[in-house]
Symmetry: C2
DNA sequence: CCGATGATTGAAATTGATTATCATGTTCTC
DNA sequence: GAGAACATGATAATCAATTTCAATCATCGG
């Protein structure tokens, strides 16, 4: 079951926050987007269907989506702006990034995650979240 | 054998760049520092022993140290400024970060690194570098 | 439905880290 | 020691992201 505007609305209601036209517009476009998108890009995309929504509100709504556990912000090396993607704990993944062409591949490695947990425990830590990015050359860039 | 100013000087000579009082001052203080330090912090520290070195030059020298493979820049979540630490490929490590008190523990997990390589190859990537950070609660913060 | 209350909005200003400019000073080679 | 190239540092510029603030809106109780 994919997350939708309803989930954001529930979060807002629980927090005593308000459901607005703008928040619904941003959330709608966000949930309809796959992959990684920056606040600016989302702003442009939202503006097409719902003109008049400010960039500030896009930033603010993305922050709410993060707080609600519905979005995850990523900050890849050499990229100056952060990008967002739908959060779905069950579908957690990490990234392979080509340092030449920028191609990003998502992957999942349960064994690594398990070893991360173990390593953390060995140092007295409990893990809430983690970030793992592998930088290198993709197939096409390596043979080119 | 720890890296020193001599290594930076060699890099500079090879590149036809110049060895200056300021670069030596920044490098000296940098190599004398353990752990993670921001450009601002390094600037303050350098200023004590070698007044008159500008912040701009600290940034520029840190960039040279990175290019020379003598420093590594880290950018931990929620920290707006980057921090630098001595680079030593042989001593590569990753980080455990307490989200409550900010404590950082360095660790090394060769098995994970090996699995990272394998996962990357499975997707046609060759790995040049990677970033792995585990966020959670340290011992004291968890029991508090 | 109405009005009060507090939250939200968006334009504009601000922040904060980092980088670019540029006039002046320094290094290194011959 | 002269000269060409490079480096420095004060200042300005960038740029994503946040803050401000007056105007607008959503929600709740009556
Ligand atoms: Mn992703
Ligand atoms: Mn470290
Ligand atoms: Zn590539
Ligand atoms: Zn802690």
């Amino acid at each position: 079951m994919n997350k939708t505007i309803a989930d954001l609305n529930k979060y807002l209601a629980d927090k005593g926050l308000k459901i607005t036209r703008q928040r619904e517009a941003v959330a709608q476009v966000f949930f309809d987007t796959d992959g990684h998108i920056s606040a600016e890009e989302l702003y442009v995309k939202v503006s097409r269907s719902y003109p008049g929504v400010g960039l500030t509100t896009v930033y603010r709504t993305l922050k709410l989506l993060k707080e609600a556990g519905l979005a995850k912000e990523r900050r890849f090396a050499e990229d100056s702006q952060g990008v967002f993607e739908k959060e779905d704990t069950a579908r957690h993944h990490d990234h392979l990034i080509c340092t030449r062409c920028g191609k990003i591949v998502e992957f999942k490695e349960p064994l690594i995650e398990k070893l991360q947990e173990e390593a953390a425990h060995r140092h007295g830590f409990s893990v809430e979240d983690h970030k793992m990015e592998l930088y290198g050359l993709c197939n096409s860039c390596r043979t080119a």
